[in-house]
Every structure is written in structure tokens, then in C-alpha cells.
């Protein structure tokens, strides 16, 4: 596991860390929102943890796939990426179904964190001051 992590490209590590940080911060905000609206219970915490871990893990897996694909021929790289995307979508489907079926997870707390990486990318130019 440690060796696997060491082999990850520095750029992929950096971006995954950024996405994981944003997901963590937004998860805290989500918990706060549930607390303020008096809907908070342990299912929200568990659901949020599951959703956030899936979102961050999905991004890391995508990064690792991209890293592997870049060393291949164009056609092979394209096929690898398509396969990876389908498998990762299946993984997310499994997680969301778990969130719906198991009563220990709040469904909204599972689904909402899956969109946190998108929000992180959206606010990235604001944070890094790009595009000036």
C-alpha cells in the first residue's frame, strides 16, 4: 500500500490532496448545515464520511489511471480511461445504493459530497488567483 502510494505522480498527489482538502472543508460545512437545520444525527455523519471518502477516492483513482494512461499509445490510453470511468461510476453506484438501502446512512449526506470535487474545481481559480 505504501509502495503503491509512493509510485503516484507528484502532480496527481498534489491535485488529489487539494480535492481531499476541499471535500473535507465542505463536509464540515454540510455537517454544520444539518446541525443548524436540526436534522443532524449519526446517520448524517456516517453518510457524509462514506460520500466524502468515495468522492476523494474516486478522484485519486482517476489520477492514477491518467498517470498510467499517459505512458501508453493513444488508442490504448483512451480505452483504459473509458474502462476506468465505467468502473468508477459502478463503484459510485454501489456506494449510493448502500447509502439508500442501509438505514445507518443518510441518503442526502451520501449523495451531496459526491459533488464536492466539482465545487472544488469551480472555486480553484478564486483560491489560486488564476486567470488574472
Amino acid at each position: 500500500m505504501i509502495n503503491w502510494f509512493k509510485n503516484i505522480d507528484a502532480t496527481v498527489k498534489k491535485e488529489s490532496l487539494y480535492i481531499a482538502s476541499v471535500t473535507g472543508i465542505l463536509s464540515l460545512l454540510l455537517q454544520a448545515a444539518f446541525l443548524v437545520t436540526r436534522h443532524w444525527d449519526y446517520t448524517v455523519l456516517l453518510g457524509n464520511a462514506l460520500g466524502a471518502a468515495t468522492a476523494a477516492g474516486n478522484f485519486l483513482l482517476m489520477g492514477v489511471t491518467v498517470q498510467k494512461a499517459l505512458g501508453r499509445e493513444q488508442k490504448s490510453a483512451s480505452d483504459l480511461m473509458k474502462l476506468s470511468q465505467r468502473l468508477r461510476l459502478l463503484m459510485q453506484l454501489g456506494v449510493v445504493v448502500l447509502g439508500v438501502v442501509l438505514p445507518c446512512f443518510n441518503i442526502y449526506a451520501v449523495i451531496i459530497p459526491l459533488f464536492f470535487p466539482r465545487i472544488g474545481i469551480m472555486v480553484r481559480p478564486l483560491i489560486k488567483g488564476e486567470g488574472k
Binding site: 480511461m81 473509458k82 466539482r118
Partner: protein, 95 residues
């Protein structure tokens, strides 16, 4: 008659969920094309690998959100919508 109506509701929800998941195919094709183009770009300018990888990762994550929207719609159609539609039906017929 009521069973038929409920069956139609469930069938339509399942069909809708299946149709929504067609959108899950698009991001895979898009990401594949992006990575293929990135391979070509890095082949031409190997020194820009870090920048290309970073930009492409962000682009792929954005593209993947489309598939996620479809996934969420499908899940809602399977697990949430039938209950709502059946309760609306029951209210309409007064049961």
C-alpha cells in the same frame, strides 16, 4: 386496475432510470478523447507533462460530474420517485 397502475408507475420509473444512465457513457468517451490528446501533447512537449496532467485531471473531473448527475437521477427514480407517485395515485383515488 390499481395493481396495473402501480406496475406502470414502477415500469416507467425503471425505464427512466435506464434512460438516465445512458448519460453515463458520455463522460467515458470524453475522458478517453482528452487522455488520447494529452498523450499526443506530452509526446510533442515532454517538459509540459505536469501542466498537461494537472489541467486534464481537472477537466476529467468536471466531465465526470455529468455521469454523476445521471446516476443521482437514476437512483432517485428507482428508490424515491415510485413511493411519491404511488402515494399521489392513492390520494387521487381516495385510498
Amino acid at each position: 386496475m390499481l395493481e396495473l397502475a402501480i406496475g406502470i408507475i414502477l415500469g416507467c420509473c425503471a425505464l427512466g432510470a435506464g434512460a438516465a444512465m445512458i448519460a453515463g457513457i458520455g463522460p467515458g468517451i470524453g475522458e478517453g478523447n482528452a487522455v488520447a490528446a494529452a498523450c499526443e501533447a506530452i509526446g510533442r512537449q515532454p517538459e509540459s507533462k505536469s501542466d498537461v496532467t494537472s489541467t486534464m485531471l481537472m477537466g476529467c473531473a468536471v466531465a465526470e460530474t455529468t455521469g454523476l448527475y445521471a446516476l443521482v437521477i437514476a437512483i432517485l427514480l428507482i428508490f424515491v420517485a415510485p413511493r411519491i407517485f404511488v402515494s399521489i395515485l392513492m390520494e387521487t383515488i381516495g385510498r
